[in-house]
């Protein structure tokens, strides 16, 4: 491509604006941090370090005390901390100037988000069809992972354009 063409495409390129910020990654980082706190809260409860869960009309204790509150020998909230922590860390890496356009980060985020979303679906199905009880913190977590999944999908077109 000639220098002239570069100049031309540069001239036609839309004016760089604030919109070029990786807002999806920012949102993922914030949501993942919220999710990590919720998971920490549930884990502290599981470890008996805090009082009864603030659960309103939900059945958090029923869900938390059920056999499905442990996955592969590890309390589910601990998995949540690991998952949200990984998403948070990856999103922050993706906000560094050298990685803002990184496709690897985008794919890593998507991979983690798919795993988190699938795990949330599994847990929500257990609440609905097996435990027959709802924990509002688990529902909030499921909404967080769904949002993170949608945001990480939206990241792909952005890095492809880059």
């Amino acid at each position: 491509m000639s220098v002239g063409a570069n100049v031309l495409t540069g001239a036609l390129r839309p004016e760089p604006r604030e919109a070029s910020l990786p807002r999806n990654r920012m949102a993922i980082a914030v949501l993942a941090l919220v999710g990590a706190f919720i998971s920490s809260y549930l884990l502290l409860h599981k470890l008996g370090l805090i009082g009864a869960l603030a659960c309103g009309t939900g059945s958090c204790e029923t869900v938390q005390a059920s056999p499905w509150a442990v996955f592969l020998g590890v309390p589910v909230p601990a998995w949540g901390i690991v998952g949200y922590g990984a998403l948070f860390g990856t999103a922050l890496v993706g906000l560094q100037p050298s990685h803002i356009e990184s496709r690897r980060v985008a794919w890593a985020l998507l991979g983690l988000a798919v795993a988190a979303f699938a795990f949330s679906l599994y847990l929500t199905a257990l609440e609905a069809f097996v435990i027959h009880a709802w924990c509002r913190w688990c529902i909030v977590s499921a909404l967080l992972t769904s949002s993170i999944f949608a945001l990480s999908l939206a990241e792909l077109p952005r890095v492809r354009r880059a």
Binding site: G10, E15, P16, R17, E18, S20, L21, M26, A29, V30, L33, V34, A36, F37, S40, Y41, L44, H45, K46, L47, G48, L49, I50, G51, A52, S59, C60, E61, T62, A65, S66, P67, L95, I131, A133
Partner: protein, 240 residues
């Protein structure tokens, strides 16, 4: 062009700054909320609601899982079963006015056995499940009935509390001479959550819809708070 780039860079930097401020705020709020939950202590991990029980669809399995607390000899010819809730005022009335008289008139003479089953109503009786577990924890040290009486005696003290009255229950353990450390460990766990849940489910199977629910040798006694009525039913059963 250069100005535009500078503007864009400045704008991006400003956007990132705002993002980090939001992130910092979320981190501070989250950390404070966790610290508050830790300091508050609350139920300290105590199970305060019924739990999921597997394998109790069969009534016989459920009956085996449920555990009544007994006073009086197994050989007693009459058995009185009571389903009760520690937050229910009428249950308190039964415990303080009817049970002592039954004990004196029938249990002490070996003619009556009383079997106590938990029936935590839930809903507005939000602490009754924890109270039932607390009584069972006291029962570990042979003080179920003493604790049972104290819980009912001080019902107006702990019932209205907004958060689970764990500290009150631990204090009561000391009052009835239960070793507090072991009691606290038991209370701040899910111990007996399955038993209390099974008792509640058993009550549901039997059609319990109010407390105290009293059965004398398989006869439901509608007005168990009337000692005269209850005595009459027991005497009929003794005479049969």
């Amino acid at each position: 062009m250069v100005t535009q780039k500078k503007k864009a860079t400045a704008s991006a930097a400003s956007g990132l700054r705002r993002f980090y401020i939001v992130l910092g705020l979320v981190a501070v709020v989250g950390a404070l909320a966790l610290a508050y939950a830790l300091l508050r202590g609350g139920a300290g991990g105590a199970a305060i609601e019924p739990v999921e029980l597997a394998g109790v669809d069969d009534p016989r399995a459920l009956y085996a899982r449920a555990q009544g607390v007994v006073i009086g000899p197994e050989t007693a010819p009459v058995k009185l079963v009571v389903f009760s809730d520690f937050m229910c005022p009428y249950c308190g009335q039964f415990a303080s006015q009817i049970k002592p008289r039954l004990q004196e008139a029938f249990v002490d003479g070996g003619r009556l056995q009383i079997v106590y089953y938990d029936f935590p109503l839930g809903g507005t009786h939000r602490h009754s499940f924890l109270a039932a577990r607390a009584a069972r924890c006291a029962g570990d040290q042979g003080k179920f009935w003493e604790y049972h009486d104290l819980l009912f005696g001080r019902q107006s003290e702990w019932s209205p509390e907004a958060s689970p009255p764990v500290d009150d229950f631990i204090e009561y353990a000391g009052v009835v001479g239960v070793e507090r450390g072991a009691f606290e460990r038991c209370l701040k766990s899910d111990r007996y959550a399955d038993t209390v849940t099974a008792n509640r489910l058993l009550g549901e199977q039997l059609g319990v819809n109010a407390t105290p629910w009293v059965i004398v040798n398989n006869r439901y006694v509608r007005n168990a708070l009337d000692y005269g009525d209850l005595k009459q039913v027991i005497e009929q059963e003794l005479g049969a």
